[in-house]
Amino acid sequence: MNLKELTRRQLFGACGIGLGKISLASLLSRDVSAADSPTPASASAGLHHPAKIKRVIYLFMAGAPSQLDLFDHKPKLVELEGKPIPPSVIAGQRYAFIQPGAAVLSPRFKFNRFGQSGAQIAEPLPHLGEIADDVAFIRSVHTDQFNHAPAQIFVNTGSPIPGRPAMGSWLTYGLGSDADDLPGFVVLKSGGNLSGGAAMWSNGFLPGEHQGVAFRTSGDPILHVANPAGISRQTQRATLDLVSDLNRRRMESLAVDGIRSRIESYEMAYRMQTRAPELMDFSGESDETLAMYGTKREDTGSFAKNCLLARRLAERGVRFIQLYHSGWDHHSNVEGGLKSQCKATDQGCAALVKDLKQRGMLDETLVVWGGEFGRTPMVEASAALGRSLGRDHHPQAFTMWMAGGGVRAGQTIGKTDDLGFHPVEDAVHVHDIQATILHQLGIDHERLTFTFAGRPFRLTDVHGTVIKKLVG
């Protein structure tokens, strides 16, 4: 068959495909090879340039952790405590809850320096301190959105309005997945309510197989992956054999690829049924490993387990693994809130980086940590809402960190003004973060496009530049 005559759908059909296994890269490479390219590309070679990494683990801290209390130390806020911020700084900024005249709130914690790089990290994050030299901090991230759902969706899809493809969907669309029997884009969730919801792992208008698969927090991790009560493994196998038999009979008179890919999809489903329990079974992990993640500690809850699961998914070739931990929206008592959320997440995050490093996987994995925006230098208090000593949403500046493949670790990029209000050096927009993640995977964010309803779309809309200081 002449590959040039294939539509994407046919090719996928011919390959028996699902869950984003086949990539645009392999499609493109076939096209290129048909057009006399001597070396067919592969996913690991990247789509547009050689990839530095194979996968991404994105630790999404939903609710927006306070950068001013954890990473971006501003002594000036102590000095100004109780006074309003000059209107010239506020300059018409819209706030979610507070009025622009709200008073300054000083940092809630002591900061310490860690590692050779001397990174400044606040007290509630001691484990992060241990891996400070493996991490690059970006203190100058900013976004367009000042409400949770749109801001979270914006980080994940490049648009604040639900309906666009998620980053993970773009990645499996562009690169496919190395996972044989697991989805290429997996979402894990812990903590409280997640504002952005399913829009953050939606395939949007990309083909359906690129939808992120959110592992369920109760019951089967993947919907219906376990056989229902009363259906044994033997019965399931016999059923699939009958189904396959009947499908093959149909194919005798109807030689369409759709039937072949349906047969394949059932076999893959069966394999997934085997692999899923094995994936979720931590009994093979050493005590050391379990202790490092803290999976047995009460207060780390499911986040630590998700971190370990992330590593296991990474080992199995999953392209994009996203952990959401909700509970960072500290409109009141930012101090107490941070303490408990840091306790729940700090150890797991650090353990994941250490574990990947020990296993030689850190170089090929990009670990990203961050929320959807920052928090105000001003205090939030409201009698009607029963709030005090909190911080409101602050899109102008917040901190993220990255570790692993291709990241120049042990540095802090960007600087904010004395109030931590605006970036004053190396401002990094959310679209730049997206461009950089794609870049590390060998994708030029301006060239990964998909035409929907008459116009080409991309993750970074019409914006975004790769953060050279971070990965150059």
Partner: protein, 1023 residues
């Protein structure tokens, strides 16, 4: 597109360059993208036959080259136009550039365009070298031939009105059953193909059932059809199906994809909304075959029709299906803007097949749609408020009225018996007397004062007949009402003002506030209150309120909060919406208000919280109090106090008031409360309501499409290139709706016909279903598309006259549709020429509905609120809040799938897995993926297991009824027919029975067989 604004990291110029790169589609990936999204077409796609292949066709051959390489800098967008040269218009291409011109007709070698694209000099060569690949040789040759042959521009095919094409001659006219077949066969013959044989009747009846009703025929219906010797058996079947009410349910689902229907608001909280009456309307309209022009006009502007009926208002729910962000702290006007963006995009897709999204941010790069055109189109739709409308079904009205009558009767009976009768309950009568005595002391003479002037930061205020003030229109999180009140002629100084918060049917949940998201709907929050005479502030004292429990320290009800300078405390009414309460604020000291005075009310919350309806009264009486009893009753009572006459009616009303509120009457209230709990909730559906001319909303162009960058105001108009006389063009939403389905819009007929075609063949005549613009794929059968367009618009007796049923009938009666399914020929691997009936998987809802109908479980009830078929709890657990999935029991478990509750942030998993949309975007074409998760769903989802049991039970029943001994082979045969409609072949039966026997240990082996059959490819794909 949403070019949202990061704070100035990139210069505008840089942004534009990037934008150009995206839209130019000229990079390697985009080239691949075309391979991906479109295809390579081995077939001749011109539709005009082999003879014309060498003629250069501007639209087919030239425009794509110019669009790809030139329009970015020399196209419609003035903002990015270079060298003041435009190549998208003939006039532009002929412009004198100083002794030469870009295109010199008939002289390619003298045309600057050719010189530039072929130049060896990098500085001269176009397009510029930075990232733009040069033109290919074939492209240059095409341009040369085109210019040499005159270089004429032609309007893009879809922008030209369709002319009725003549029927093409075909070699095999005997195959054709109607004009459709002539066009289809002609294209086959041009490409050396011939049609397939007619499908066998069993396949045909299953196909046409699934296509017209979305369900499967019963074995009896199949037998009747197969055995019929009527020559018109198929026509009769089609007519019967078109008349079935299930037809409306089937096509409503497709329309709801376009309408982005959902039962929740979307975004973070994703709370429920009531808009199923709109879904009912769609089903009813399709079943009644409401002509597509009226169908469209009512949905876009039913409220603006003369004497608009309730049904026509409900239809405007179409554009109320936009999402509503209820997150705390949002800017509500920003999300209204996003909803408008969605409305423009959806209108463009549905009625024009045009993507308008590009022009939200800048003038379209390819299609002649300017940035201003976009906002002019938005302005046509922008002048509406978005209220709720009572859509109680007659049964609900009847039920409510009946219960209300019983409540009234019961109340009257109780007060008569207990309070009014001489032999009533003496204790309660004493309590009532005490109650009256206390209140009688509190009665004051209140006089309503209507404001002379009203200003507000956003909502529009109007005085109603009773002197109350009604707010409408937009509102923000911090609104201020400034009321100028008239001088009051009074003997004594004014001692207090009274503010009454009142309900109104136009308000969210009837009010009294304007809150429509985040907070309780109908909520308000009065934060601060100031009164002054001229420039002089009036000192106010902490007053009283009828709201219970309003003590100091209560931040939401204590009247003293109004003067504490803290916007986060105030006065409001906790509890249910629709209540009326009063606030009495004394003047300290009392003052004569014998000159104009003013009131300023601040409403501040993290959501919209201004009062929706309120009334201001004043009194000169001493010690006025806020009372719970209604103002009317207070007035009557006061009058009786003066006259000394208590009418029996007043006495009864006071007794009723005592019954409804007093603690002492709690026991007597119980039966009434029980009745009250049975009153069905109002069904209030979301509708559009045009604003009055006096209060037109101003639509502004938004620079780069950003909400925070409003620019000049824009007059309402359709895009200029449609060449409607500006004096004549639509000026409002209704005129837009009428224009969209008029002959002035060349696209609507083709877009509508194309959508219908896709319903039956899986792929449109234009494959890019949502896009008919200059970048769209050429139609596979252009003349057929034009023919269907002309037929649709033809209102003569023989015409289709916008009847969608007639259009569907013509398609399913065609020989093209009746072909058997098969493998596409290698010359046409995509089956664009339809020489076989196309293989495809059915959509999620039809898969389930087919199983429900086949198993006999399907509930045939039409319309109504959404239902909850079983799905794992973990699906909604992923969503925000403690969302429950109240799994339906009984027949509601087995309703048609379009009635399944659609929650945007946790869509019904069994449907999304099969590519069903979540109601976030207008979807003109669903994807059809094949994934292992689909296999797991059909195999293991409890919902499908239940249906499998239904199938098994039915098959056993069938076998018993058919008089056989219910031998396994018989049962298997019945089961097979119920799932797959056709008769099994013997080999298939053998395989099934072998499986059945291997599972004999299982409790429900027939369920296992049914489950296996439901998982076959054939069960979910076209026959």
């Amino acid at each position: 597109m949403t070019c949202s604004s990061p704070a100035g990291l990139l210069s505008p110029l840089r942004r534009l360059t990037l934008c150009v790169l995206v839209c130019a589609a000229s990079t390697l990936v985009c080239a691949a993208g075309r391979l991906v999204a479109a295809d390579a077409q081995p077939i001749d796609s011109s539709g005009s036959g082999q003879a014309d292949v060498h003629r250069v066709d501007f639209n087919r051959d030239v425009r794509p080259i110019l669009a790809k390489h030139c329009f970015t800098c020399h196209g419609p967008d003035e903002g990015t136009r270079e060298a003041d040269l435009r190549l998208d218009t003939q006039a532009g291409s002929r412009q004198d550039l100083g002794g030469y011109q870009a295109i010199k007709p008939g002289a390619a070698e003298d045309s600057e365009l050719i010189l530039r694209v072929t130049s060896d000099d990098e500085d001269l060569r176009m397009p510029p070298a930075d990232g733009h690949p040069p033109l290919g040789e074939a492209e240059i040759a095409t341009l040369r031939r085109w210019i040499d042959s005159g270089g004429q521009y032609e309007v893009h095919w879809s922008f030209q009105p369709a002319a009725e094409p003549s029927l093409p001659a075909v070699e095999n006219p005997g195959w054709c059953r109607g004009p459709i077949d002539r066009f289809v066969l002609h294209r086959m013959e041009q490409n050396g193909l011939s049609p397939s044989a007619e499908a066998d009747p069993v396949a045909l009846i299953r196909r046409v059932y699934l296509d017209l009703l979305g369900t499967t025929p019963t074995p009896e219906e199949v037998d009747r059809f197969v055995d019929s010797d009527r020559p018109d058996a198929y026509e009769a079947l089609v007519d019967r199906l078109l008349a079935s009410p299930e037809y409306g349910e089937r096509f409503a689902r497709s329309w709801l994809d376009l309408a982005r229907y959902s039962d929740t608001n979307g975004y973070e909280k994703d709370r429920p909304r009531t808009i199923w009456p709109y879904r009912n309307w769609v089903i009813d309209a399709l079943n009644a075959d409401k002509p597509y022009d009226a169908f469209s006009i009512e949905q876009l502007a039913g409220d603006m029709l003369d004497d608009a009926t309730r049904s026509q208002r409900i239809a405007t729910g179409f554009h109320r299906n936009t999402m509503l962000n209820e997150e705390g702290g949002i800017d509500p006007l920003e999300y209204r803007f996003y909803a408008m963006v969605d409305r423009v995009a959806t209108t463009g897709t549905v009625w024009m097949g045009l993507t308008t999204g590009c022009a939200q941010c800048h003038t379209h790069k390819y299609d002649p749609l300017t940035h201003t055109d976009y906002y002019a189109l938005m302005a046509l739709m922008d002048n509406a408020d978005e209220p709720e409308l009572n859509a109680d079904p007659p049964a609900v009205i009847e039920q409510r009225e009946s219960i209300q009558r019983r409540i009234t009767a019961t109340e009257h009976d109780i007060v008569k018996r207990v309070l009014l009768a001489d032999d009533g309950d003496a204790t309660l009568q004493a309590a009532w007397a005490k109650w009256q005595a206390e209140r009688l002391e509190q009665l004051s003479d209140w006089q309503t004062v209507a404001p002379d002037q009203m200003e507000s930061t956003m909502p529009t205020l109007a005085v109603l007949d009773d002197g109350s003030v009604l707010a409408s229109g937009d509102a923000t999180k911090r609104d201020v009402y400034s009321l100028t009140m008239p001088a009051i002629d009074s003997d004594k100084p004014i001692t207090a003002i009274r503010i009454e918060a009142l309900s109104h049917p136009m308000l969210p949940a009837k009010g009294p506030g304007l809150a429509f998201y985040e907070g309780r709907r109908g909520d308000f929050f009065l934060s601060e209150l100031e009164m002054s005479i001229g420039e002089t502030p009036v000192t106010l004292a902490v007053g009283t309120t009828s709201v219970p429990g309003a003590k100091p320290g209560n931040g939401k009800t204590f009247p003293g909060n109004l003067f504490d300078g803290d916007g986060s405390t105030g006065w409001s009414i906790p509890g249910d919406a629709g209540q009326t309460h009063r606030l009495v604020i004394p003047l300290d000291p009392p003052l004569r208000l014998d000159q104009a005075w003013s009131l300023e009310m601040l409403f501040e919350r993290h959501y919209v919280a201004a009062l929706g309806r309120f009334r201001i009264d004043v009194t000169t009486d001493e010690h006025p109090q806020a009372m719970q009893i209604s103002s009317d009753l207070q007035r009557q009572w006061l009058a009786s106090k003066t006259s000394g006459q208590v009418s029996p009616k007043l006495k009864q009303d006071l007794a009723l008031e005592f019954l409804r509120g007093a603690d002492e009457m709690a026991e007597h209230r119980k039966p009434i409360d029980r009745l009250r709990n049975q009153i069905p909730d109002d069904v209030r559906t979301l509708v559009m309501q045009e604003r009055p001319e006096s209060n037109r909303r101003v639509t502004r162009r938004r620079h780069r499409g950003e909400y925070l960058q409003p620019k000049e105001s824009v007059d309402a108009a359709v895009p200029e290139f449609f060449a409607t006389d500006p004096e004549d063009g639509p000026r409002d939403r209704l005129e837009l709706a009428q224009w969209l389905v008029s002959d002035a819009n060349p696209l609507v007929g083709r877009v509508t016909a194309n959508r219908a075609w896709r319903e039956f063949f899986g792929t449109g005549i234009v494959r890019t279903a949502g896009d008919f613009g200059t970048q769209s794929e050429s139609p596979s059968h252009p003349e057929l598309l034009d023919y269907l367009d002309v037929r649709l618009r033809d209102t003569s007796v023989d015409g289709i006259g916008w009847s969608i049923k007639r259009l569907h009938r013509e398609i399913v009666l065609s020989a093209t549709y009746r072909q058997s399914i098969g493998t596409p020929p290698s010359a046409d691997p995509d089956n664009r020429l339809l020489s076989v009936f196309p293989y495809r998987r059915y959509d999620a809802e039809r898969i389930r509905d087919a199983f429900l109908s086949g198993s006999g479980l399907l509930s045939r009830q039409i319309g109504g609120p959404s239902v909850y078929p079983p799905q794992p709890e973990s699906v909604v657990q992923m969503a925000y809040g403690n969302t429950a999935w109240p799994t339906s029991t009984g027949a509601d478990r087995y309703r048609r799938s379009l009635y399944t509750y659609s929650k945007r942030t946790a869509p019904f998993a069994a449907y999304t897995t099969f590519d069903a949309p979540s109601g976030e975007l207008c979807i003109a074409r669903r994807d059809r993926s094949t994934t292992p998760l689909q296999a797991l769903t059909l195999l293991n989802d409890q919902m499908y297991l239940e249906i499998a049991e239904g199938f098994a039970d039915a098959a056993v029943r069938d076998a018993k009824q058919s008089g056989s001994d219910a031998k396994p082979r018989d049962i298997a045969r019945h089961l097979f027919r119920r799932v797959l409609v056709r008769q099994p072949r013997e080999g298939e039966l053998d395989a099934i029975l072998a499986f059945y026997r291997s599972q004999s240990e299982h409790e429900r082996p027939w369920m296992l067989v049914a489950r296996a059959l439901m998982n076959t490819d054939e069960a979910i794909t076209t026959p």
